[in-house]
């Protein structure tokens, strides 16, 4: 283990959040089990008081947990300075077998936490707590994610060894390399670009065109929305690594998805990833909000929130496409060549 301030900060932060989540889990179980809105007994009044406190604390804890994703990336980048062979965050993450699984889990958790926060926000707008039991059931089901993140972070931190030479991004994200990095870097543009834009077009059709076709029912559009956004995110990551990175670095062999987040490339990756994460998170939430049918007030509030999520996701997607393909356009205009 390296006693680096970033590592210590992350370990302490995750431990504290796990403790908060554990307390939240116990309270969520009590609320889930004992909730009876129509009761006027003391027990129910205590649960009503408790749900306000628990949901407020969980709001904060999940927001911090989301923040930890970005702090983890920054920490990995900083740690590259002390690990031999590492040039950026990729070197740190690939220095032991826990780095990338932890990052993947953190990304998946980001979306789950965001969706919970939005549903919690929705529930808090209605005086009869219509989502309370489902909300706390979901919170309990999220506990393994928080526990998993903490365990993986501990394993990752404990196995960081400055005497072991790690791989640099050039060797991980290389068309000839084995593993996921090699496959992502080697994805053919003639395959991934049409796939990516097909998903984008399908998302736009689902939002603007399908609703006018009576043959496409509303439930089907809702059913389509959520997996489409997952597909959008995955294909966007592949496009970023295999295609966009080439025009950012202007090097055929350098396809790192982390280097361009730093100052050397004017923090190009920051708006790119922000747009991608915002678009996907809000798009997935919008898809799930479409399932809410009753009570009527909940449906109405969900409809208003869905509209906001729809707008954010579409603007996010548009901004991602523009930001992502801007280097390609600039390169083409400057050189007159595609590659």
């Amino acid at each position: 283990m390296i006693l680096h301030p970033w590592i210590l900060g992350l370990v302490i932060g995750h431990s504290a959040l796990l403790l908060v989540f554990s307390l939240g889990f116990i309270n969520a179980w009590q609320i889930f089990r004992g909730w009876d809105y129509n009761s006027t007994e003391e027990k129910q009044f205590l649960l009503e008081k408790k749900t306000y406190l628990v949901s407020t604390v969980m709001n904060f804890a999940l927001f911090m947990q989301i923040l930890m994703l970005f702090l983890f990336e920054m920490a990995a980048d900083e740690l590259a300075d002390v690990l031999p062979g590492a040039m950026c965050a990729v070197g740190t993450l690939s220095s032991n077998r826990y780095g990338f699984p932890l990052l993947d889990l953190k990304i998946a958790s980001f979306f789950v936490y965001f969706i919970w926060l939005m549903f919690n926000h929705l529930d808090n707008q209605i005086e009869t707590y219509p989502l309370v039991r489902r909300k706390y059931l979901a919170l309990m089901l999220m506990y393994p994610l928080v526990l998993g993140e903490t365990i993986l972070l501990f394993m990752f931190a404990l196995n960081l060894d400055p005497s072991v030479i790690t791989s640099c991004c050039g060797s991980v994200y290389n068309e000839g390399a084995e593993g996921v990095g090699g496959s992502l870097a080697g994805a053919s543009a003639t395959f991934i670009l049409p796939l990516f834009f097909s998903i984008v077009i399908l998302l736009l059709l689902n939002r603007f065109v399908f609703k006018h076709w009576s043959v496409v029912k509303e439930w089907f559009r809702n059913l389509l929305e959520f997996p489409l956004w997952i597909a959008f995110f995955i294909s966007a990551i592949v496009v970023t690594i295999s295609f966009i990175s080439t025009y950012v670095y202007e090097m055929l062999s350098h396809k790192c998805p982390f280097c361009f987040v730093g100052a050397e490339y004017n923090y190009y990756g920051v708006p790119l990833y922000c747009c991608l994460f915002v678009a996907t998170a809000t798009g997935m939430t919008a898809g799930l909000l479409g399932y809410i049918r009753q009570p009527a007030l909940l449906k109405e509030k969900a409809g208003l929130l869905k509209k906001k999520m729809d707008v954010l996701s579409l603007w996010g997607m548009l901004a991602f496409v523009l930001t992502g393909f801007l280097p390609f356009v600039i390169y083409y205009l400057r050189t007159g060549r595609l590659i």
Binding site: Y37, T40, E42, F45, E48, K49, Y52, N124, E127, T128
Partner: protein, 227 residues
């Protein structure tokens, strides 16, 4: 047919639950108040009148039981919604007026409108109407600390009315008043009743309990409703 506007059903309030100093302030209290009526809640000190009034006034939640105001189960509402309900429908006249001494009469009266997001001009217009109604126009810019007891009392009533509340709650409003001011207050309250307000007063003052404008008297003892 009368319309019940305030209802409590088997309301109980226990303070310091599970601690050595646990107190049952109100036990299984039920009452109904009709729209536009003037009701007095009487009882000796410590009988639970103020606690029951606080629960009706959305200032505290019962330990168990139900409080229904204007058809809404307010004892079930989350705090945020309960506060909204209170701001929109209930005016409160406190025992010691609870005015802010360092602020002007106008600023004290418009205070409940600030969280509502009402514009300063509209706040001022509403306050001016009430200042005129309670003969306080000439004291508009005075600090409340420089007013007489009777004027402070009128400022407190004006503040309770500024949000156009249909329900007025007054907690021992005559406890610190001489007989002349008590008589003035009762006149104001009678006029408010005639204007359609529903009024609930806690008091053990016989002048209030026996006033001809009072429609009903509920009596409490040791936290229980006895009549």
């Amino acid at each position: 047919m009368s319309n019940v506007i305030v209802e409590t059903i088997d309301v109980t309030k226990i303070y310091n639950r599970g601690k050595p100093n646990e107190v049952t302030a109100v036990k299984d209290a039920s009452l109904q108040i009709d729209e536009g009526s003037l009701v007095v809640l009487k009882g000796p000190s410590g009988s639970g009148k103020t606690t029951l009034l606080s629960m009706i006034g959305c200032q505290t939640k019962p330990t168990r039981g139900e409080v229904i105001i204007l058809g809404r189960r307010i004892s079930k509402l989350p705090e945020r919604f309960m506060n909204l309900h209170k701001r929109n429908h209930i005016g409160f006249i406190f025992q010691h007026f609870q005015l802010i001494a360092g602020m002007s009469v106008l600023d004290n009266i418009v205070l409940p409108l600030i969280p509502e997001g009402i514009s300063p001009k509209e706040r001022s217009n509403r306050a001016d109407q009430l200042l005129k109604q309670f003969n306080l126009g000439h004291r508009r810019r005075f600090k409340v600390s420089s007013l007489s007891g009777g004027e402070q009392q009128r400022v407190a009533i004006a503040r309770a009315l500024i949000n156009n509340a249909g329900i007025l709650l007054a907690d021992e409003p005559t406890a610190h008043l001489d007989s002349a001011l008590t008589s003035d207050l009762l006149n104001y309250i009678k006029n408010l009743k005639l204007a359609g307000h529903t009024i609930l007063i806690t008091s053990h003052d016989p002048i209030i309990c026996q006033h001809p404008a009072v429609d009903r008297v509920f009596e409490m003892k040791d936290g229980r409703m006895i009549s």
